[in-house]
């Protein structure tokens, strides 16, 4: 699929003429004497990609593009493709999606407790620069999310573009804003007194009940903190975008269109510096047939028949369409400028999957690529297929690129070797 820049601009219902980024840049971030803003989009395509179509045959810089990577050929120098990476001890087929950004082991075991996700970890350091610390999106139904708090509690993701748009861009009237600020203050004072109530309740209970109340207490405190920050944001205007609220397309088969809509929203959110951390779960587990010419079987079913020629063709169509949407996103980010850079130069776009081979429910050798973000790209970093590198090593590299000085995250043994700035 060739990407036509004009169509990129025209795009979907939410493509729009945008004010210049530099004008848009909130005074906020600059006030805090911050360096070049760094951003991240993390995408999990939960049915993954056929390994033979995704991974290139050769390693290094002069590798030949695989069938899937040909779809995004024009960005060859802007991304690195990885092979031989996975999360150690993350097993359990489809249910490993919860661990994709957390690396928490054995998600299907009885006592499983998740850990903090990459975006939330980063948000603790850079979340306060923007109106929304993170934006957690989802393409597809269900309650899934890539984002988890430090306690391992799932942070819900939003499926409806209209609601995301509303939160990002729809500005209230002056009196509405005042009323909102008052409500936030009221919320803070409520949270404050509730915090006290929970503490005193906590003295009356024991065991797991107390842990539960503690989780409640932490959440209330977090809300209180966020309400305080929100109050500051509330008095600042939301970015203006010249577009109507996008229509929510909930046709399960409209995977491509829905993916496109969500990616566009993600780009807009970054472009307007509404957030710097976006997660997008593209979930197809529930098995719909994708509306594409020539595709007759449900997506999930196709992944289990990829050994047959006919069905393989159908799956290839679906996956290439998904790669095409990634290309669109990269194209959109390339076109936007910020200072001397393109937006892509300052945005890491991670696309991966919690499954290395959906047909076999294999959770090793995950198909991962990273685009943009200021790295020296244009290579295939191949690690051992039998003894995989921890994917979290890549996450450490990404955290460092976001300006967060850490050597540890989840199962990481350090930063990923071979990926340089």
């Amino acid at each position: 699929m060739a990407l036509n820049r004009r169509t990129l601009l025209r795009g979907t219902g939410i493509a729009m003429a945008l004010p210049m980024l530099d004008v848009m840049k909130p005074a906020f971030a600059r006030d805090q004497g911050e360096a070049v803003p760094r951003r991240m989009v993390a995408i999990n395509v939960d049915l993954g990609f056929m390994p033979e179509e995704f991974f290139p045959a050769q390693a290094g810089r002069n590798y030949e593009l695989s069938a899937h990577l040909k779809v995004i050929e024009e960005f060859r120098d802007q991304f690195t493709v990885f092979s031989g990476v996975s999360h150690p001890n993350v097993d359990g087929g489809h249910q490993t999606d919860v661990s994709f950004l957390t690396g928490a082991p054995h998600p299907r075991s009885a006592g499983f407790r998740n850990t903090i996700s990459l975006d939330q970890y980063a948000a603790q350091h850079i979340g306060h620069f923007t109106r929304f610390p993170t934006l957690n999106l989802r393409v597809g139904p269900g309650g899934g999310s890539m984002s988890y708090t430090g306690d391992g509690v799932r942070i819900p993701s939003e499926e409806r573009p209209s609601r995301v748009f509303q939160r990002l861009f729809v500005q209230g009237s002056k009196s509405e804003i005042e009323a909102q600020i008052q409500k936030l203050r009221e919320g803070q004072s409520l949270m404050d007194s509730f915090g006290g109530q929970i503490k005193s309740l906590s003295r009356r209970v024991s065991g797991a009940d107390r842990d539960r109340l503690d989780q409640f207490f932490q959440s209330v405190r977090e809300v209180e903190k966020r309400l305080t920050v929100n109050e500051e944001w509330e008095s600042k205007p939301k970015p203006k975008v010249d577009a109507r609220v996008p229509r929510d397309m909930l046709d399960p088969g409209a995977l491509v269109q829905r993916t496109r809509n969500m990616y566009e929203l993600a780009r807009l959110a970054l472009e307007t510096d509404s957030t710097r951390l976006v997660t997008i779960l593209v979930t197809q587990q529930f098995n719909p047939k994708v509306n594409l010419p020539g595709v007759e079987l449900p997506h999930h079913a196709l992944t289990h028949q990829s050994q047959q020629k006919k069905t393989r063709e159908q799956l290839r169509k679906v996956e290439e369409a998904q790669m095409g949407e990634l290309g669109r996103l990269l194209g959109g980010l390339t076109e936007r400028r910020e200072g001397d850079d393109s937006l892509l130069d300052r945005t890491m776009v991670l696309q991966g999957s919690n499954l290395g081979h959906a047909g076999k429910h294999d959770t090793r050798n995950l198909p991962v690529l990273l685009a943009g973000g200021g790295f020296r790209h244009g290579q295939h970093l191949a690690f051992d297929r039998d003894r995989n590198k921890p994917l979290a090593n890549l996450y450490v590299s990404m955290l460092q690129q976001l300006g967060i000085g850490t050597d540890a995250f989840a199962s990481a043994s350090g930063r990923l070797t071979g990926l340089e700035v």
Binding site: D91, G92, G93, R108, A110, G143, T149, V153, R154, I155, P156, V170, S173, S175, E176, A179, Q180, Q182, E186, G187, L190, S193, F194, Q197, I198, L201, R204, S206, G207, A208, D209, R212, L213, Q215, F216, Q218, S219, E222, V223, R226, L227, P252, F286, N287, P288, K289, E296, L297, P298, A301, H304, Q305, Q307, Q308, K310, H357, K360, H361, D362, T363
Partner: protein
């Protein structure tokens, strides 16, 4: 402090475990060979196991389970002598029971939890007297633990959740307020489908259908011969037109049930105020036979929906007799009403025919429509109940200045309170009185003076800023609806008090906060008396709110909530439509409700002498004599292939993917959901089996190959047979003797028209539904399989009882509960494990009456 004491008990217990059964020796001899080190079988390491039952309880419980079910030690390994085995098992079980019982005594069976999102939204509906408030989707979905959203593990807290409560409470409270001081008088709006103007102004979809030649204009019961259609040309930007010389048409025959761009709003309908309305439609059933309107032989159905997808009601229209049919429905202010001719067959605008008009190319059932009417709002008390819950009888006065509410986060219509003011001379005293009465209804315990402190502060603060009394009160109410006391279900270890018991009962059977009568009994402590508790259980079971339990329970137990996640393939199953999905869900709900109300034996899960169906389902099941959309009880033949939940369309659809069915999926469903015998998950890195839709091989052949792999055989011998028995049912629950296979349009698609559409499938290989159960019993088809299942009545009942226990108490049956559950099973035997008896047994049990 507590922890140390606790460890002390454990120490004593584990000591006794070692003494009683020399467990270490047993494990050494029969388990550790395979289950040790890095390469331990199933990743289960016995060598790391400690005798501290506190930390390793789950692992010991697993050992107990595997040995009890005979799965371990495996048959090809050294088996212990049966005496040694049973000694070990008894000792281990006793220890686990002891530890579990101590734990439960100390902390209670279940952990403290918050209201689930369904309980929260129902509670708000009940408290605010807003039965049709739509807020559930505004909260993030809850997790699932042990199959339901009823336990602490499924009901996490996050800052997102807490923040959302603040927004939702405000949204809901504003919906409860009147928008004007006086009620709007009822009026009747009629929308007629007379000639082109009438159609255009009434229903866009019908205007488009006429223009494209899909719908037939009618004069009386005959086709209008004079309509002139000029089709537009999109490329040349020509609009096209429809003109209607005399005689003008006065009705439209439509064959289409598609939502077509959502242009199905009845445009003249206006809802100036929330309340009950009557919606009417005038029309009849007819058939389009390639352009000729001919008499029909069946009743058709028009359905009305809110824009948010709420079914408002259905109107049946009999064949050939012009009839007015009406429904009464609650409509929210400003809410558009949508129409769908749901019973019709034809769905697609892109009908592959060169004929013009299109209707000359096919034959299909249709609905002749002449007009729609909306009457209302029907008279109601003023101010409405919802408003009085918040402001009692305080006087209202129209206000001149519009104050915009702080509503933009949710919805602009939230700003309802701006058109009037609530008049009070003594704001503080009124506030105190109103808050007190509201808190009494909201909290599930007696009110303490401290409860009003925070809400009153909120009110005073607003009043001191010269805000309206209304705004000030809303702030106070928000403080109540978001407080820990409202959100949390607090229980103390030991026997429940009457308030806690009332809350458990209402969360169980109404999925909400206790209602007035239940609270009155709790206040007086009478609920603790067994016969009072029994009477209340009966009352709640008879109440309409019991449907919330039915929906939620079935939604999770049988995955009914997932019914729309996949749609039958339009090429393979052209006869499928939305009406069928709606009907099959209603069938299963009605069927379970019948089991509940009539105390029917559990065996009805697999077989019944009646069905709960409507016309659409009767068509699917091949039964005659059922006409209309309403679900009713119908007796069936003894040798019918239907009967029981097992062969209901909903279950068969949920266990299919829209295109194909898999015995593996269906077999797993039957084992885990109906028999409580969940097979272990497939090992990693084994390719799954999916049916081949080219029609070359049957799934049975593929599975036979799969079972020949030793690694797979063990489980699939158990999983596949129930699935085989259901092979005669297709993806939407219809009967099949042969599989359908897709025909490629390129290799000469058939010209057969079926259900108003070109048939795009052919009949493929024949279905085989015989099989052999793990224990060697064989069956030839679904009927024989059903007979075998009925023999396992106690197993079916035990599973249903356990599912209900999880739902009612939030916790699965543990070691310490086993004895009581066995006793319950015995006492239920005389009722043949009647479902209503089960509910009573649970409510009266110690499991339910203790934390």
């Amino acid at each position: 402090m507590i922890k140390i004491y606790w460890l002390g008990i454990l120490f004593a217990l584990t000591q006794s475990l070692v003494c009683r059964a020399d467990s270490t020796e047993f494990l050494k001899q029969y388990c550790v060979d395979c289950h040790n080190g890095e390469w331990a079988e199933a990743d289960f390491r016995v060598d790391l196991l400690t005798h501290d039952l506190d930390s390793d309880f789950d692992a010991w419980a697993l050992i107990q389970h595997r040995i009890e079910t005979g799965e371990m030690p495996p048959s090809d390994a050294e088996r212990p002598p049966s005496k040694e085995l049973s000694q070990f098992l008894t000792a281990l079980t006793d220890s686990l029971v002891d530890v579990d019982a101590h734990r439960k005594k100390e902390f209670g069976r279940r952990e403290l939890r918050r209201l689930s999102r369904t309980e929260y939204s129902n509670s708000l509906k009940d408290l605010l007297a807003l039965p049709h408030l739509e807020i559930e989707d505004m909260l993030p979905p809850d997790g699932r633990a042990h199959g339901f959203q009823k336990s602490a593990n499924a009901l996490d807290f996050s800052h997102v959740m807490i923040a959302r409560y603040l927004e939702i409470a405000d949204h809901a409270l504003r919906k409860a307020l009147v928008t004007r001081p006086d009620p709007i008088p009822s009026r009747t709006i009629r929308a007629e489908l007379k000639s082109t103007k009438g159609v255009r102004e009434t229903l866009q979809t019908l205007a488009v259908q006429l223009k494209l030649g899909h719908a037939i204009p009618l004069v009386g019961k005959e086709r209008d011969p004079t309509l002139v259609r000029v089709r537009g040309n999109f490329k040349k930007r020509e609009q096209g037109s429809v003109t209607d010389p005399e005689p003008r048409f006065d009705g439209v025959l439509t064959m289409m049930n598609d939502r077509f761009n959502q242009n199905i709003v009845i445009k003249p309908f206006e809802v100036p105020q929330s309340g009950y309305y009557k919606i009417r439609v005038h029309g009849w059933g007819a058939i389009n036979d390639r352009g000729k309107v001919v008499p029909s032989d069946r009743t058709e159905t028009v359905a009305f929906y809110s824009k948010s997808g709420r079914l408002l009601g259905r109107c049946d229209l009999p064949p050939n007799e012009p009839t007015t049919s009406e429904v009464t429905a609650w409509l929210n202010e400003g809410e558009p009403v949508e129409y769908l001719a749901i019973s019709t067959e034809f769905e697609k605008f892109n009908f592959p025919s060169k004929s013009d008009p299109k209707y000359e190319a096919f034959k299909a059932y249709g609905i002749a429509l002449q007009w729609f009417e909306l009457e209302g709002p029907l008279p109601q008390a003023w101010p409405p109940e919802s408003h009085r819950q918040l402001f009692g009888d305080l006087q209202l006065k129209a206000s001149k200045t519009r104050i915009t509410g702080s509503s933009r986060q949710i919805n602009r219509t939230d700003a309802g309170a701006s058109n009037f003011r609530v008049i009070t001379k003594t704001p503080e005293a009124d506030a105190d009185k109103l808050l007190r009465s509201f808190a009494q209804r909201a909290y599930r315990r007696p009110i303490r003076p401290a409860d009003l402190k925070v809400p009153m502060e909120m009110v005073r603060q607003r009043l001191s800023q010269n805000q309206t009394f209304t705004e000030a009160m809303l702030a106070g109410y928000r403080a109540i609806l978001t407080s820990p006391d409202f959100l949390l279900l607090l229980e103390e270890p030991g026997e429940l008090g009457s308030w806690e018991l009332a809350t458990r009962l209402s969360c169980f059977l109404s999925n909400s906060t206790p209602d007035g009568p239940l609270k009155a009994l709790a206040r007086r402590g009478e609920l603790l008396e067994r016969d009072v508790l029994r009477r209340e259980t009966d009352r709640l079971l008879e109440a309409p709110e019991v449907q919330r339990f039915v929906v939620h329970f079935l939604g999770n137990w049988l995955d009914l909530r997932n019914i729309t996640l996949t749609q039958p393939d339009e090429n393979l199953y052209p006869e499928f439509n939305v009406f069928l999905t709606e009907s099959m869900v209603e069938e299963t709900k009605a069927f379970f409700t019948e089991m509940l109300h009539k105390d029917l034996p559990t065996s009805n899960i697999v077989d019944s002498d009646f069905l709960m169906i409507n016309q659409r389902l009767a068509e699917l099941y091949g039964l005659d004599g059922v006409s209309g959309s309403e679900i009713r009880k119908v007796a069936i033949d003894e040798n019918s292939v239907r009967g029981g939940l097992l062969t209901q369309a909903s279950l068969l659809k949920i266990t299919a993917n829209g295109t194909t069915t898999s015995p593996v999926v269906r077999g797993t469903f039957v084992l885990s959901r109906l028999l409580g015998d969940e097979p272990p998950p497939p090992p990693p890195s084994v390719p799954a089996i999916e049916p081949d839709i080219s029609g070359a091989t049957t799934i049975r052949e593929q599975l036979a190959a799969h079972r020949s792999i030793e690694q797979c055989a063990g489980c699939h011998q158990k999983i596949d047979p129930p699935g085989f028995a259901l092979e005669n049912f297709d993806v939407m629950g219809g009967w099949r003797d042969r599989y359908r296979a897709i025909v490629k349009a390129s290799n000469g698609a058939s010209k057969v028209i079926e259900h108003g559409q070109l048939r795009r499938y052919r009949m493929g290989l024949p279905v085989e539904s015989h099989g052999e159960l793990e224990n060697g019993q064989s069956f030839a088809d679904i009927s024989e399989f059903r007979a075998l299942l009925k023999l396992r009545q106690r197993k079916l009942a035990r599973n249903l009882l356990e599912q209900l226990i999880v739902y009612a108490t939030g916790e699965p049956v543990g070691f310490a509960d086993r004895a009581e559950v066995e006793a319950m099973m015995d006492s239920l035997e005389s009722s043949n494990y009647g479902v209503r008896s089960m509910v009573h047994a649970i409510v009266q049990s110690d499991l339910f009456r203790h934390k």
